[in-house]
């Protein structure tokens, strides 16, 4: 055997080195890609978390304030609207003026700007809850202004030259810190309040309620329509040109940019049908159009996966087509359809562009009560806050992003668990 006439075995051996090298290279490329993806994820989450975790704590000032009935002009038996309209702001200002003793009007104003403008509302709600407190002294945690909040959480101990607070203000704050009156606690305001111009009073409740209502409308509309369409296309539609065209169009709709649906919603739902703009109702209608292709496509795949033997068994027993589909095929395809629906909902949860077109970008302070109330959704809220220059809004933007991500992860996990639990073995 000379070199030029190697046996097959020798030829294979000779090529092995190159093949092994190629496989090792491929595996390295794969691992590098995965690592790169993971790195991006880590950087993204790291950035969001580092900016956002501080949003979940808020700085409060603990103080004991006397609810002077004479000053407020009310007592414990006063009618409710009188109690509501009493001058709590003035009471707070008087209290702090007495405590910190500012010299002159402009200094006093600087002192009062350290307390949140919402402090008056805090006091009001305490009194409304228990009018017998009038005349007594109560200890209350008052919200501080966002400048103080940010300073306390981030700038303490750093150089104060870049601070928005004057030296005198910092002296006052420091005295509160030293006496232990200034401290942080969990930021319930973030979850309980609606949007506000004041960062320390801003919360995501309005946006969350809007999101939930919008998703509810989307689900109630897209699930029945999507499931019915999937069943019809898969089981009952005749195999002709018209059906083909419908199928092609549905597949294409899944790829249409979402902002187009917003334009459609604006033109048809708002202008022609007269649905009120910026409501979860019209938002839900637009998102329904967007998620329908997803539900239909995944629904059809779920129906196709039902083995034909089950259908034959039912038909062989004398079940009609409808009975076969609704008694046997649909229950077996349902887990797949639900999974597809949850994934579609999770997509809809994060949609911003189409909702901007139909007006959900408005600054809405009230928490919506019903699907016809003006509202905004969480992604849009994030978008609005990200525009604000205040530092406090920066951290709240990241905080809201964390909440949104939390929901998305929850929904996708639910979809995976549902799919795994309901997987059938034929």
């Amino acid at each position: 055997m000379t070199d030029s006439t190697m046996t097959t075995r020798q030829k294979v051996e000779a090529s092995m080195r190159r093949r092994r090298a190629a496989e090792t290279r491929f595996r390295l490329y794969g691992m590098a890609s995965v690592l790169f993806g993971l790195l991006c994820l880590v950087v993204l989450f790291g950035d969001i978390f580092s900016k956002g975790t501080s949003a979940f704590s808020q700085t409060v000032l603990t103080t004991t304030i006397e609810l002077n009935g004479d000053y407020l002009g009310i007592d414990k038996d006063s009618p409710r609207d009188e109690i509501m309209s009493a001058n709590y702001d003035g009471l707070i200002k008087r209290h702090f003026a007495k405590e910190m003793k500012p010299s002159g009007r402009s200094e006093a104003r600087k002192l009062f700007s350290l307390i949140s403008s919402g402090a008056g509302w805090q006091l009001q709600s305490e009194v409304l809850a228990d009018p017998s407190l009038i005349g007594q002294s109560i200890t209350i945690n008052l919200l501080v202004d966002d400048d103080v909040d940010q300073w306390f959480k981030h700038e303490r101990g750093e150089n104060i030259h870049a601070s928005r607070l004057s030296e005198q203000q910092l002296e006052w704050i420091q005295s509160w810190v030293d006496s232990g009156a200034l401290h942080t606690r969990f930021n319930t305001t973030f979850f309980v309040n609606g949007d506000s111009r004041e960062p320390e009073l801003a919360g995501i409740r309005g946006a969350m309620t809007g999101t939930l209502l919008t998703l509810l409308v989307t689900f109630l509309l897209s699930f029945p329509i999507g499931v019915s369409a999937a069943i019809y296309l898969e089981e009952f539609a005749p195999k002709n040109r018209l059906t083909e065209i419908v199928e092609i169009n549905i597949n294409n709709l899944a790829a249409v940019p979402s902002i187009t649906f917003g334009l459609l919603g604006l033109a048809i739902f708002i202008n022609i049908f007269g649905v009120s703009r910026s409501t979860p109702l019209v938002g839900g209608l637009v998102l329904t159009l967007m998620t329908l292709p997803t539900i239909i496509i995944s629904g059809r795949a779920a129906i196709k996966a039902v083995p034909p033997s089950i259908r034959e068994a039912a038909l062989g027993l004398g079940a009609s087509k409808m009975q076969t589909v609704f008694h046997h095929v649909l229950p077996l395809a349902m887990p797949g359809m639900l999974t597809g629906t949850i994934i579609g909902m999770a997509q809809a949860l994060g949609e911003t562009a189409p909702l901007l077109m139909i007006g959900m970008i408005a600054f809405v302070v009230d928490v919506p009560g019903f699907v016809n109330d003006p509202s905004t959704v969480l992604p849009v809220q994030i978008f609005l806050w990200s525009d604000s220059p205040e530092r406090a809004f920066t951290e709240r933007t990241s905080g809201a992003i964390m909440v949104l991500l939390g929901f998305l992860i929850l929904m996708n996990t639910a979809a995976v668990m549902l799919r795994r639990r309901l997987e059938r073995r034929w």
């Binding site: 083995p307 033997s309 068994a313 039912a314 062989g316 079940a319 046997h328 077996l332 073995r425």
Partner: protein
Amino acid sequence: MSIIENHKTVGTPLSEGSKLSARDVCVFYGEKQAIYNVSLDIRQNEVIALIGPSGCGKSTFLRCLNRMNDTIDICNVTGQILLDGDDIYHPRVDVVPLRATVGMVFQKPNPFPKSIYDNIAYGPRIHGLASSRVDLDEIVEKSLQRAGLWNEVKDRLHSPGTGLSGGQQQRLCIARTIAVDPEVILMDEPCSALDPIATAKIEELIDELRENYTIAIVTHSMQQAARVSQRTAYFHLGQLIEVNATDKVFTTPEHQLTEAYITGRFG
């Protein structure tokens, strides 16, 4: 091998007053013809075996008898098939009650992913055969007894049907078919997915069922045909070559193709 021109079925394919009558049945899958002018009578309360090499059309022919071929879009059936004298392919015939009268058991056991009780009860429920829960219980018990499965499952009627062994599942499918009170039972290779013990049980069952039902069974196993049937029909490339008493087909077949098949010259 190609089809025989102007072939006339040898033996005794036709008889008077039979349960099912097929006359000049042709089946086309699109352009391709699968069954060529088959005429066959199936007598009341007999077991007739349809045998032949793979792809010879026996399953296709069987599925014509309860119009299961309707579910295949490109399938086209011509000719006449009479059940008790009525043409089952008449445009005004509803396939739903037809399939309750002519039941089918498939090759691979296919119980519904429901409980054993619900598997059996499904047919009677949709056809309105039981007016009360008591009636339904009775039908379920009777069907399971007739299928020889009652003793094995009577205390676990609500456990899933898919939890049974292969042989038990096939008997469950037979019980399910019996529950709608058919007159004819078509069996498409019912034992090919089962072990010998389960197969023996089912063959025993077929013998018992003969009392009340007419049975047509497609089988790949000549020995099985010899064991269970009274008459045997031999199919070859879509043509019905010979129909005779089972003993005769397996000992002194009339046609040379039949002889070639049973002696194993081709499979």
